[in-house]
Amino acid sequence: MKEGKTFLGVPVARPRVAFFELSSCEGCQLQLLNNESTLLDFLSLMEIVRFREGMKEASDDYEIAFVEGSVTRKDEEERLKVIRKQAKVVVALGSCACFGGVNQLKNRFHDLAWVTKEVYGSFPIDTQEVKPISAIIEVDLEIYGCPVKKEEVERIVTLLVLGEEIQHPQYPVCMECKARENICLFDLGEPCLGPVTRGGCDAWCPSNRMGCWGCRGPVPEANLDQLRIIMAERGISREQMLDRLECFGGFAGYLASQDGIFGKKDTKEE
């Protein structure tokens, strides 16, 4: 651990940090590099000992592990267990790691043989049902989003390095959208999961007039039944709402409880 870094005059220990990626687009890690103006400051908070996408050197001696991506093959489960053994803190980075992400959309077919045949024909290919990393190992901290928001990652990582408690927002995206005085997308006829999705992104998509797709998962006490009534009143189809609820896996629990209404079935049958 290198000395010398201080925060508000108090010396800060620079933890040894490693980055890992399972099945993903690696976009969440790149979001960290996408931080040009604050990148060097951010990097000085920690000692990065493994970041395959950015550096050649690699060490297995680390304290904090950031894991991006979901689990789709046995060897990824094994890698995770090794990471868990080494790291004091395991952070799930992004919606794929937290909920399975867009990758888990393949689970909706309940037929892996069909899925592999659709893409690879008769060529044998190894895959399994998509899982979030918490299905395999204990996770200490989750950072939501597809992609993660760099400002939020920096805030959370700073708190983590300082040993402070980290609290996720307990209010929905809708609240942040109102605070930004955006036009309500329901008034424009757009579907939006803002009322039921955990805030913290500062209404990233709705502020660009794209309705929320729920990438951060449900806010505590999300009232999905009420949202369904609102969407129906606005003439937004059940299929459009389902597209969003099932997109990242954050609402999988709700959908599973709704069998027969949204049903865990292929949308083709709708």
Binding site: E21, L22, S23, S24, C25, E26, G27, Q29, L30, Q31, L33, N34, E36, S37, L39, L40, L43, I48, F51, R52, E53, G54, M55, K56, E57, A58, T72, R73, E76, G101, V102, N103, L105, K106, F109, W114, V115, T116, E118, V119, Y120, G121, F123, I125, T127, C146, P147, W204, C205, N208, R209, M210, W213, E239, Q240, D243, C247, D266, T267, K268
Partner: protein
Amino acid sequence: MKLSCDIDIRHLTRVEGHGNIRIVIENGQVREAAWEVVETPRFFEAILVGKKYENAPYLCGRICGICSIAHTLTAIRAVENGFGMTPSLQTRRLRLLLKHMETLQSHILHIFFLAAPDYLGAGSILPLTVSHPKVVQQALRLKLLANDLCDEVGGRRLHPTRTVVGGFTMLPDRDRLRLFRRRLESALIDLDAGVDLFAGFSIPDFQRETEFVSLQGEGDYPFVGGNLVSSDGVLKAEEDYAGMSNEYMADYSTSKLSRLSRKSLAVGALARINNNFSGLLPEVRAIADGLGLVPVIQNPFMNVVAQLVECVQVVRESMQLIDELLAVPWQECRQPVEPREGVGVGAVEAPRGILYHCFHFDVAGRIVKADCVIPTSQNHANIRYDIEALAQFCAAQGKSDKEIELLAEMLVRAYDPCISCSVH
């Protein structure tokens, strides 16, 4: 004279995704030279089945964390072609501007963060912040500009939010576009410095004759749609993309692979420059000349230099696009969409090469079949044969293990592979 070596790189660093290099030389004979792709598949082509058309750009963008904009725009083009829609001139200009800034962002990331450390004797960009602070600052400034302008036009630099079938959900701010025009102008100065830097590097002198595939220009340097061309003389229409990519599987790769007139082909910046050199702006052609980049270039290491030249091209074109956009008042940002049954294909030059999406739609605009052909998957077989040729070249020259290892790594990096994207 070094006669034997055994190189086994598991998960090559400073590339996107997971790939392995294996080279075994015994008594001067190459026993094994392989490029293996071990990335886990995510099955996007299956995921899309049953989904309405509006999901396609949103989901396809998530194939890739570096070129999400190219995937989004390719999916949109495939949907619009399938529905017989023609985007407005304003939409086409904004999309091209967005595309250019992704190209700049992606190329700068590769040139300076992933490739340059090898030429400057470093393991990553981190030591360069101390040894070459100016270079790092220039690279960060260029990348920041590209990303900021992506935010302005596409709503977000990664997985864009404003790009939809029919156009955009929102338009950029005209005053801010004016300021971006100025920043683009000063970016040319930073790029000049980059050109000087690369002019001083000694690029490995290695050649292997290759078939290059790209969009075909018509007096321009094309990025979106049009005919497909190969340097071996194959010419096809956009919708006949499958005859250009000819995907197949092999046991060394979880990514599909491609071939055309030979056993492998190459796509990317070098392919574009080789096929469309005359479409570059005169100022850009002069820079290419100065860097020794005059077609046909058969040295894959030169792809990095080709990317640098393209950076200048896209910055200059972007300045012109902003001028054109600001010369007329804003029109409607989004056209109505009328789904119809049929097939739609989109071909777009992503930063790493030509990218194809193809969707079959039912009458309600639901996807019944999807196909995405990724630039890096088209390059994998070529990388493999390049490594074979490089191993023979090194064995003949009697290079040391360390030299061979570094050269092999640099060779793969030169293609700027996006491996998770290629497996998708």
